[in-house]
Symmetry: C2
Subunit: 256 residues, 2 copies
């Protein structure tokens, strides 16, 4: 065995063949069934990374735009930027605070505290035209439910991360972020540790759940084509974490 | 062979045993030597991810604070926030624009266009107390040099990413970002592609170089302990890219 084979590092494996997810579907069964057909046996210490879209679909977080009556503010924004007023109305309903609104872009703080375009409301990758998807109501709870179902069904203890792709200030392109976490701490803490020269480390916390989310995207191929991936061989920080741990206290945020 | 073994997904392998890097060292030789001792043979299509700290050290981007004479603005900031005025002076020299300065935190736009704390000036993980490290002068050029040396020495064509750990607005924790890119495009473009229902995809560009940077950090263990990692099995977008491609045009940035 070569040294390479003995330290395989971290592996990211896309889970293939998850069928189209519909409201009420048992998402755990669909993911585990696909993994099994792929010959992929989940192991203790794996991280299962799942894109929010299939979680939202399973949880019925889909809105039929025909049922939406836009209010005056939604109509005004929609007219100004040539948007669908019903979609804008749904965005406003999901929004706790508008962080920026300019040139037709709405950067919103969601009720969960995530800051992203359109409060996570998305018209793409929904099965039916004329519908939009919302973020899961409580992505931590969704993650925890998946984790529980896997423990129950297979007897293995994994961490689960629910992700969404967000844009970032200052930088082009989207990146996968963690919006739900179960079975691990999302932050790895180096506080109080010194470098070899004795200086306290500049960086005290790494957002490893976001790094795992980003890593998983690399194995998911085209956007949402493989809506779940497994990260194996990463010793994540143990504990009962929440994606809320990743949200900066407004008092400490220079970019409110 | 199980299906799992036939589709190994993406692998991230930390490169172990890179010695302490000193100004003038041949970084390519140090990294390739360590990989060889590890039994790790670089292959066409691998991505070599290297933290900026060892690049900066090899390139002599280390400042002895004893040689720095702080100006009046540096002294004023240092006094207000109990900082070392010489470090503040170095930060100001590396800064093209101060994006935010509050509560002792300086978020700066570097001369390269990166927006990060202290313009990338760092007191930790430098070998000698009383010195600070700067970002490489041109991280794309550093990446391209490494890529050339690998092609020349081993006859394999890899992509190279130079990384640094930055904080983010709104979110806790640091994440690895790409600050130098060679041998690949940092953005994967989905423009004009539709989802199965016919809607144009909401997300048109994924910042895959940033996702590769984040993924690599997972195999690097404690901060900078393994300052280089290899990502294998990821079909990155081919082309001659630059980390500048990741910088948003100020005209299109709502968070200037």
């Amino acid at each position: 065995m070569t040294p390479e084979a003995s330290s395989p590092g971290v592996r990211i494996i896309g889970i293939e063949g998850i069928p189209e997810v519909r409201p009420g579907d048992d998402l755990a069964a669909l993911i585990l069934g696909a993994a099994e057909r792929q010959g992929l046996a989940l192991e203790d210490g794996d991280v299962l990374v799942v894109t929010q879209k299939i979680v939202s679909k399973a949880e019925g977080r889909i809105v039929d735009l025909a049922t939406v009556e836009p209010g005056p503010f939604a109509r005004q924004i929609a007219q100004q930027w040539e948007k669908d007023p019903r979609v804008v109305e749904v965005v406003l309903r999901e929004t706790a605070r508008i962080v920026r609104m300019d040139r037709g872009v709405m950067i919103c703080e969601t009720k969960h505290g995530f800051i992203c375009a359109n409060a996570g409301v998305d018209s793409s990758n929904v099965e039916r035209l004329g519908t939009v998807s919302l973020l899961p109501e409580d992505p931590d709870r969704s993650a925890d439910w998946l984790r529980g179902r896997i423990e129950e069904g297979l007897g293995v203890s994994v961490a689960v991360i629910i992700t969404d792709t967000f844009g970032r200030p200052w930088r082009e392109g989207h990146v996968n972020f963690a919006i739900g976490v179960a079975g691990m701490l999302p932050l790895l803490d180096y506080a109080g540790q010194n470098d070899p020269a004795g200086y306290e480390l500049r960086v005290t916390q790494m957002a490893v759940a976001d790094e795992l989310a980003a890593a998983a995207e690399l194995a998911q191929g085209k956007l949402d084509r493989l809506p779940a991936a497994l990260v194996r061989g990463y010793a994540y920080p143990k504990g009962c974490g929440s994606a809320r741990d990743l949200l900066r206290d407004p008092e400490r945020d220079l970019f409110r």
